[in-house]
Structures are given as C-alpha cells and as structure tokens.
Symmetry: C2
Subunit: 212 residues, 2 copies
DNA sequence: ACATTTTTGTAACCAAGGTTACACATTTAG
DNA sequence: CTAAATGTGTAACCTTGGTTACAAAAATGT
C-alpha cells in the first residue's frame, strides 16, 4: 500500500506521514456507481482518492438532485472532513463515477496529523480551497448560465473525467444531475446534435466537438 | 484592544493567542457601504469581525451580481483565508453591510498560529465548515427555489442582520443582489404587500410579517 | 415469438421571470 | 423655482424551460 500511496501523494506528504497513512488507512476498490456517502448519514472516515472519480451530489427535500462537483485522484472530500470535525450528518451524497481506488482514513487520526505534519495541514487547507472554488463555479453556472450552456459544460466535464468521447448516460440521468427534466434535456441535446456537436444514440452520446 | 477581543473571542482562543492577535492585528472601524475586498485584488490580511456585518458578493464577467452570504460577529472570511494561502486573487467582493468593527491579521502570522494553537486550527476549520454550508444553502436557494421564495428569504435575512424591521434598499439594489431585474422585484414585492407581509415606501420597506 | 419495460423524439401547452416602454411621484441640483 | 435625476407602478410582450401526452424504437424477460 505504501507504494501506491507514494505514487499519488509522495510529492505532497513527507515519508513519516505516508507511513502513518499506510498503517492506519484501509485500501478500497469500488466499482462505478457505488454509493459512498448518503445524505443524513454520519461519516466514518475520510477518503483519499488514488484513482477514478467520485461525483458529489446535493438533494433538496422534494428529491430534486444537483451535481456539485467531482473528486479526482489526489483529492479528498472537504465536506466529509468538515462533517467529521463537527460530528454532524452529511449534507451531500457521494457516488463513484467510475471504478475508484481510495484509502479510508479514520477520523481520529486527523487531528493528530494536523498538529504534527505541516504537509497535512497544507493538504487540508488546499482541499478546502479547491472545494470552495468548485462550489463557486457550480454556483456561477446555475446563477448566470442557462440550461444549454450548463449542458455543454456538463458534457465537457464528463469527457474530461471519464477520459472518453462516449458519455454513457440516459437523458433522464443527465436531467437528474442538472435538476432539469428529461424532455428539456432531450430537446437541448437534439439542438447540439443538429449543430454537429454530438451524435445521439440509445444509452450513450458520442462527443464530436463541444466548442460550438 | 485586548478587552474587546476577549469579549468576542475569549471563549474560543486561549489567552496567549489573544495576546498575539492583539499585538499583530490592527483595529478598524468602517462605515456601512465600505468596500473591503474587490474581485481580482490580492488580499493583504484576514479580518476577524468584532461587530457589524459584511456581505460577500459574487459577480460574473458581464457584471451580474449575486449575494453569497453575510459574515457576522465572531466570524472570518474563509474565502480570504483560502486566497491568502494560495496567494491567488480574490474571487469575491466584500462590502460592509452596516458599521463594522474588525481586526485585520497579517497573513504571515496565520501559519505560525496554525502550527502553534489548537484553538486557532479549530477556529479555521470551523469557519471553513460554516462557509461551505452557507454556500450550500445559497446554492439550494438558487437551484431549488423560485424568485418569490428567494425574495422572502432575502428580506428575512436583512431583518436579522440589521436588527431592524426597516429594510433600507431600493428595488434596484435588491434586484442586483438576487441577480434579477428591478421590474420583477417590484412586481413580487407588490404581491407580498398585497398579502400584508410588508409596506412599500420610497427607499425603504417596512416589514410586517414574512411568514405568509 | 410475444409482451413488457426502457429510452428517445416531438408536439402542444403553461408558467416564471426577463425586457421594453411609459407614466408619475419624489428628491436633488442648479 | 425649474429642470434633471431617481425610484416606483404597471402593462404588454418574449424567452426559457417545465409539463403532459403520445408514438415509436430498442432492449429485456418469459
């Protein structure tokens, strides 16, 4: 486990910390679609991502969903961290976007390390920083863009995250994540197809060129 | 300065830290409307709020504004902190909502204290936590509520923050902060007035009862 | 092979909220 | 005191995106 940790976090953490993580963390490999955190649940540990990606979603009382952002290799979930410290319930849902490897760290170790390792403090601050900025970006997108722009952004992000020009989602799934309705998404996708940006198929979309 | 600091932060910070803050921080009292941080500017220091309130705003490239949240007594600006660490430009604008007293802390001290004082670390984490949750709340509001609900929330928050049943804003100002248009806000305000929730006047709104 | 479920396409309609335009009242400046 | 600027009220209209309804294609189960 030390080797795989060093590969992703070697340039961030000093050796002693890597050792401690390897001792205390538990390695997990989960398939795409695994629900890692549910809204309202208490958090047991904090994930360090080794490979893959995790999507973080928000849901309101009426079950309306909204995709917040993705976590990728070398990142951690600040929301989780934040919940751990306050011992509060999770405000978000986390689902593996594709096959994901991660190391779960028990919360009790975190305070230790924050006092002990400067590199750990920097990592924690850094991830709060990135997360706040991601949230700002999501907020911008909802507040200032209309649905076709949001849809384009969504598709671009999917391509980037999954490293594939084939977005394997139904229109309904996309509608959920953008908090819209299937009919609207189908309509807008068709418009993008007509402009030559994508090719629509059952259960997947082939991306041609989204800069249109 | 130590006394006023102890009044607000005494229950959070140990004495030694209070002393250090008193030594290194500079006290400021700013009138309502003072611009404390501008988008794109670099941050010189981190504010600790003693009294009053600061509103934090986001703006897109076309000048559309959006109110994110308020900072109150005993709080600090995580965005600022976050920017300081990364030495990046500010993503937000901060304006004093009313007369505000604060202590400005030079950034260079922060890393010291993070290593040295557990109470400081807790404070910093705690404020990241609150800020992330505020952001989530703002996002919920935009994504899941429509304008009349957002307007009601806005008015309630104003009453709470300013401790007055008189909201001293023009419809145009409200429209800016909600990223809407004056006509729409006037329309919705009139609807609330007709239901007996408020009384409309030039330059101010008298709040009667917003739970309607 | 046939029935059922899932997914997509499309039309018709609706509601929220943004836009333009203009009237009128109040305040401020000269 | 008069002219200009500012703030509000309201109507008419438009755009975006949400809703309902239905058809048809593709996949799946039995």
């Amino acid at each position: 486990m030390k080797d795989i940790l060093t590969a992703t976090y070697g340039h961030l953490f000093e050796n002693a910390l890597i050792e401690e993580i390897a001792e205390n963390g538990s390695y997990k490999k989960v398939p795409s679609g695994t629900k890692l955190i549910e809204i309202g649940s208490y958090i047991k540990g904090m994930p360090l991502l080794l490979s893959g990606a995790i999507k973080v979603l928000r849901e309101d009382d009426d079950g309306h969903e909204l995709l917040l952002y993705y976590l990728e290799q070398g990142e951690t979930c600040s929301m989780t961290m934040s919940c751990c410290m306050g011992m509060t319930k999770s405000e978000i849902r986390a689902i593996a976007e594709n096959e994901t490897e991660l190391i779960m760290i028990p919360i009790r170790k975190m305070e230790d390390w924050t006092a002990k390792y400067k590199s750990w403090r920097n990592f924690v601050f850094e991830s709060y920083h990135t997360r706040l900025n991601e949230m700002l970006h999501t907020l911008d997108s909802i507040a200032f863009n209309n649905m076709d722009q949001r849809l384009l952004e969504y598709l671009k992000e999917k391509v980037r995250i999954n490293g594939s020009r084939f977005v394997e989602n139904t229109h309904q799934e996309i509608a959920y994540e953008l908090n819209s309705s299937r009919v609207v998404i189908s309509r807008l996708l068709k418009k993008i197809e007509n402009k030559g940006g994508i090719e629509l198929h059952r259960n997947y979309i082939k991306i041609i060129n989204l800069d249109i």
